[in-house]
Symmetry: C2
Subunit: 222 residues, 2 copies
């Protein structure tokens, strides 16, 4: 079995490869995991030896099906825990990421399947991320795009939010933005890449950093 560290490496590699077979560099992985590049080289050798990834010195990392399986398993656990903590224990959506980050490595297949069943096999976690099923297949196709691609004057739905930034999510809650909430794009400012939106009757300016963490879907006929 993969250790906690290996699970985190594979999760990060999978994330950086964006689900497809993209090659991941040592540098970006080091940044993602907040470890030295030396640690990456070392771990890459081990993961390759154990058949989780393809790795050639100076050529980057490609995840293999064995590694993908582990990554999706951990992602599944993470997202089911997040939803469970929100739905069953009433935690708020900004509180659950860090808790799930711990629990995902301490949960058996048996237990996570029980949680999945308890939640009635949900499709999305509290931040709009799709939840893989038992076999590592996503239960839905995400058809959203980065907020910076939006057009002024149009109305969109918030489909997904990056769960890693607690402060960001807290702020969104404060200005009354939830998942699936409709927002209108009032303006896009070129000089700082901020976006002015309208939510209900109030308008807000979202900084570039904020915008980078938000994803939208189109609303029919708008």
């Amino acid at each position: 079995m993969a250790t906690i560290s290996k699970e985190n490496y594979l999760k990060a590699i999978y994330k950086l490869a964006k689900g497809n077979g993209k090659v991941v560099s040592s540098s970006e992985l080091a940044t993602e995991l907040d470890v030295s590049k030396a640690a990456i080289s070392e771990m890459a050798k081990k993961l390759a030896l154990q058949g989780y990834i393809n790795y050639q010195r100076y050529k980057g990392i490609k995840i293999l099906s064995k590694g993908k399986k582990v990554a999706l398993d951990v992602i599944r656990k993470h997202r089911l825990w997040e939803l469970f903590l929100v739905n069953t224990l009433g935690l708020s959506w900004e509180e659950v990421h860090s808790e799930a980050e711990n629990l995902e490595h301490s949960t058996t297949q048996f237990l996570i399947d029980k949680i999945d069943e308890h939640l009635d096999f949900p499709m999305f976690d509290p931040h709009g991320e799709p939840i893989p099923n038992k076999n590592g297949n996503y239960r839905s196709i995400i058809n959203d795009f980065a907020m910076k691609e939006c057009e002024v004057g149009k109305v969109y739905k918030i489909s997904r939010v990056n769960d890693r930034n607690k402060e960001l999510i807290k702020y969104l809650t404060q200005i009354n933005i939830k998942l699936n909430k409709k927002i209108k794009i009032v303006d896009k400012l070129r000089f700082d890449n901020s976006i002015i939106i309208e939510v209900g009757k109030s308008s807000h300016s979202l900084s570039e950093k904020l915008v980078e963490n938000i994803f939208l879907t189109k609303v029919k006929g708008k």
Copy 2:
């Protein structure tokens, strides 16, 4: 913060000392944790250095208040998880020990307090073990005794069962024994230390090994 390993050492020391200041030997601790005696000597030095225990070479281990605090915290997490898994997810009482054994080390103070609240501050876990509160105080006095102390002809209530033996608990369920169930002692056999009991209309023979894992309370007027 204490590592997972240290948490397990302190939990085991606390358990073997039976909650009081009893000195724990390296051998019994090694047996309990299933590691070599050498590992105990090494770890004892570190735990002593960090103020969790009192340790003098060849003289055994005494837990200190700092260590007791960690032990009770882990025990609290373990027992609350057990009850939560039974009550909320519907796992059976023999399934929860091993799950809780993992989760207890991956749970923040914040989360366990939420679980405690969700369960309405319970007094006992599914095996009859008392649950420490936030401050490490037990919420009830356990007034039970080992089953081998029982008297023939009397009626008792099952108050507590060792959660570590899955097979044992499964068997008890099979013969319709639950927590708080009344049983009558029919006979105690000297040659193998087994005990014959009556549950409802059927009678069963419990082996010595089984008996060692069961605790009873007196039933008024019987």
